[in-house]
């Protein structure tokens, strides 16, 4: 039991040293205050112990300068901690624009992870060293929490919506991936591993196995689920052209059944696409009838992520024909895949 013990957690991401420095600062401040309170308590208790039962000390009602002093000093300390905390928090929550996109779905009691190249893993996450990685998260059932202590980051995984976190690993190795939001019987077994690899090893890992990329799987769903019947991307279309809409502002006519004023736009991010597939009437594209049926119960959370990956790769003129399978456009990556475990 002592062999595995360590006093300090692995420090394996770019934010970890920032968090540790801030922690160290708060440790120093709080330890000093604790020692001060302890020494004063014990010191006063000894120095002013009762020597005579009849002695009644002179009262001391207050001392305004002293009280201002011990109010202002803590206020200043708190402001420093707050500001420093906000700075570190910004590093934790704002992902770099060029981050590698990985998707994870939590369910009782496992993590299912998809890489854009098509690799899928369960309870394992392979990432390259030195590259920012953004993980988009959702849950199939209850709230989970995607927590990697060695990276000092965690993010709740909430059903019905996407949340995201990012990190940049700095040290090769294998680290714990915990579910840290209580989720039922086997909460404590919802543990995975994060495997940080050198870039070359990562590329090698990516190329192992043989299944199609995430976007290609999304493309298959696009025809299988008959999205293409209406979203034809040409003059016959009964629904908007989806080419190149990903992360663009698009005009809408109705939100939650209410007409909105002309020119209203929404941002077509992951959450918007998910919502439009499951609740087509939530935000209706301007100029189109609200005729789309809901896909609730017809697609899983993982499939939704594949469809989103597909839209991300779908550029002008690439919507497939309605009936026939066509060769995959070159822009959609078609790397082989590997299922771990």
């Amino acid at each position: 039991m002592f062999e595995e013990f360590k006093w300090f957690p692995d420090q394996a991401s770019t934010v970890a040293p920032e968090v540790d420095m801030l922690t160290l600062f708060i440790v120093v401040v709080t330890v000093l205050i604790t020692i001060m309170v302890g020494v004063l308590t014990v010191g006063f208790a000894v120095a002013f112990r009762r020597k005579s039962e009849s002695y009644v000390p002179a009262p001391w009602f207050g001392c305004v300068p002293l009280e201002i002093f011990w109010t202002l000093i803590p206020v200043l300390i708190c402001l420093v901690m707050f500001s420093w905390g906000v700075k570190v928090y910004s590093s934790i929550v704002v992902p770099p624009a060029d981050a590698l996109d990985i998707y994870a779905v939590g369910r009782q009691w496992m993590w299912k992870i998809q890489h854009p190249e098509g690799q899928r893993e369960i309870n394992a996450l392979h990432v390259p060293i030195g590259r920012p990685v953004k993980v988009t998260l959702t849950s199939e059932d209850v709230i989970h929490c995607f927590s990697i202590p060695a990276f000092r980051v965690k993010q709740d995984v909430v059903p019905g919506r996407y949340t995201s976190m990012w990190f940049q690993a700095t040290k090769a190795g294998t680290y714990n991936l915990f579910c840290s939001e209580y989720c039922g019987t086997e909460h404590s077994r919802m543990i995975g591993k994060v495997i940080v690899m050198e870039e070359a090893d990562y590329q090698k890992w990516l190329s192992e196995g043989a299944e199609s990329g995430q976007a290609l799987q999304g493309r298959k769903l696009y025809t299988k689920l008959q999205c293409v019947t209406c979203h034809t991307g040409n003059a016959e279309a009964k629904a908007p052209n989806l080419e190149g809409i990903y992360r663009k502002h698009i005009p809408v006519s109705h939100i939650d059944g209410m007409k909105v004023k002309d020119g209203t736009k929404v941002f077509a991010d992951d959450a918007y696409i998910r919502e439009s597939i499951l609740y087509p009437n939530a935000k209706v594209a301007a100029g189109w009838e609200s005729i789309m049926p809901t896909y609730q119960g017809l697609v899983t959370e993982e499939e939704l992520l594949q469809v989103i990956a597909y839209f991300k790769s779908l550029h002008h003129g690439q919507t497939p024909p309605r009936t026939e399978e066509t060769p995959t456009p070159a822009t959609i990556q078609n790397n082989p895949t590997k299922e771990v475990k």
Binding site: W60, G62, D141, V142, H187
Partner: protein, 555 residues
């Protein structure tokens, strides 16, 4: 039935009990069982609470013991996973809703509040008895839920796990908490009105003992916060039984909404638990230092400030849920605002001791323990209000350690200090100082041994509510479990020497510690059924150790 004192309490003329009956007190004036079960006397109701919450504390403690034993080894070997989950859930629910929340307000508040303000009883004695029976009924329903098979949601009841996925007795437990919530609301209401309307002549707001300020602030929080959790649990029950979509996204609900509503009550609930302790410690430190409390007004206002700020910091429990980063920053800043009044209190207590004449009676030893544990508990809160560090520490054992330092180290040490402080007043007997000091010392050592290692465990990343854990966390868990067994001894000791003292203890005089407040200066030990022989009149600020006879005159 004529012995039931329903008709004689509490507005009967005191003069009926003249000096020839001076040994008549609230304990011995009527021995029938019904005179206890149907009593309208705030002192007897306080004792009913004392007995009931002590039983709940023993049950909650036994559950904690089961949890700690399971965590001795990394593999799940003692309990089944579901049993473990139900054990920590029951531990949390019992300790929070059925022990800590009623602890100081319902036991000490009931017993001491009217005595301290020179009143014959609380404003609404019948409502007070109803509060007790609502608490009792809520306890019975909650225990029924446990006997049926328990609840496995954690005391936080997070949706949609609790509303849709859990296969345990969530609705029964929610009903129990709903009922006990009304007990808390009615007690809060009763105390607010009592403090406003029942103060004796001359007892102005700024002559109130600081314990009264703290109980008053707590009562306001109980009154305003508890309805929110009652409604939230109601909504949870509606979703679970009728399938109305409120929190479960599959039904069109929002699971994060539940967390906002839950913490809007449950964060202030932390102050319901700790604020009375803060007030009580002011009394103890002042009495055993023979000094007036330093910065009386600031301490009084800091209780109010903590109660108010307590309502606007709830989202600091939700920094990792994906709430807006800007909201997170606002809530982080507001959370720091609670640290300031808490710090002021600690410094003012130190200044109260400075230059005093300090005696080391048992309540003071508990108060010293409180000072140490509350300081550590409060300061570790800074790691959690700071955004950059909270993300790493959230939902780890660091949180578990932090809130146990506040709610067990702070609130229970304060409660124990209070029970020991007023025990001579409650029973008219003195307990053994030797055993008292020993139990305070053992509790302090056992507590640190149990919970300090959990700060490190948390920083290492061990998530809370884990039934099994990776091997690297075992060393610290072994320390923690070993400490828990010491802590258990510290808590069990008073269960023996206190009841023994009730029968065999030396008789206490009316004011054995030389305190200055009305509960000590103007009542006998134990007090007469009507508290005061004559209505006291207060002419001075509290804590005047120089001339208490002159300060508080009876006429």
């Amino acid at each position: 039935m004529a012995t039931v004192s329903l008709e004689s309490r509490p507005y009967e003329k005191v003069s009926d009990h003249d000096s020839s009956h001076e040994s008549v007190n609230y304990l011995n004036h009527d021995h029938s069982i019904l005179s206890w079960l149907l009593t309208l006397d705030h002192k007897r109701i306080g004792l009913l609470y004392l007995v009931t919450i002590t039983l709940m504390f023993l049950l909650g403690g036994a559950l904690a013991g089961a949890v700690r034993l399971e965590l001795l080894t990394p593999k799940g070997d003692l309990l089944a996973a579901d049993t473990y989950n139900k054990a920590f859930t029951a531990h949390g629910i019992i300790m929070l809703f059925f022990f800590l929340i009623p602890s100081i307000p319902a036991v000490m508040g009931n017993f001491v509040l009217p005595l301290m303000i020179g009143a014959k009883d609380v404003a609404f004695p019948r409502l007070n008895l109803l509060s007790y029976y609502l608490y009792f009924a809520g306890s019975v329903i909650a225990l029924t839920a446990l006997l049926l098979g328990g609840v496995d949601t954690g005391w936080t009841f997070y949706t949609p796990f609790s509303s849709t996925y859990s296969n345990s007795y969530v609705v029964v437990m929610a009903v129990g908490l709903f009922v006990v919530g009304f007990s808390s609301i009615l007690t809060g209401l009763n105390f607010v009105v009592t403090v406003h309307r029942m103060r004796c002549p001359g007892l102005t707001w700024f002559r109130l003992p600081l314990f009264i300020w703290a109980i008053y602030a707590t009562s306001v929080v109980q009154l305003l916060g508890t309805p929110v959790i009652a409604v939230t649990l109601g909504l949870l029950g509606v979703e679970r039984t009728l399938g109305v979509g409120i929190f479960d996204p599959r039904l069109g609900g929002d699971p994060i909404l539940f967390q906002h509503l839950f913490w809007f009550y449950s964060h202030p609930a932390v102050y319901i638990m700790i604020l009375p302790s803060l007030g009580l410690i002011s009394e103890v430190i002042s009495t055993f230092s023979k000094k007036t409390v330093f910065g009386y007004h600031i301490i009084a206002f800091s209780s109010i400030a903590i109660a108010v700020f307590g309502f606007i910091v709830w989202a600091h429990h939700m920094f990792t849920t994906g709430i807006s980063p800007y909201a997170a920053m606002v809530f982080s800043l507001l959370t720091f605002s609670v640290a300031i009044p808490s710090g002021i209190k600690v410094f003012s207590w130190l200044a109260t001791m400075y230059g005093g004449s300090i005696s080391f009676d048992t309540p003071m030893i508990y108060a010293f323990g409180f000072l140490g544990l509350f300081t550590i508990g409060g300061l570790t809160g800074l790691f959690l209000s700071t955004l950059g560090t909270d993300i790493h520490l959230h939902d780890t054992y660091f949180i578990v350690a932090h809130f146990h330092y506040i709610m067990v180290g702070g609130a229970i040490m304060g409660y124990m200090a209070g029970v020991h402080f007023w025990w001579p007043k409650i029973t008219g007997r003195l307990y053994s100082e030797f055993w008292g000091k020993l139990s305070a010392g053992i509790t302090f050592i056992g507590f640190n041994f149990t919970f300090f290692p959990q700060f490190i465990l948390g920083y290492l990343g061990m998530p809370r509510r884990y039934y099994e854990y990776p091997d690297e966390f075992q060393v610290l868990n072994v320390f923690s479990t070993a400490g828990a067994s010491i802590l258990a001894i510290g808590y069990l000791m008073p269960m023996f020497y206190m009841p023994l003292s009730f029968f065999f203890g030396e008789k206490a005089n009316s004011n054995p510690y030389g305190a200055t407040t009305l509960d000590w200066t103007d009542t006998t030990s134990p007090p007469s059924p009507h508290n005061f022989e004559k209505t006291p009149v207060v002419t001075e600020e509290p804590y005047n150790f120089h001339g208490k006879e002159a300060a508080v005159v009876s006429h």
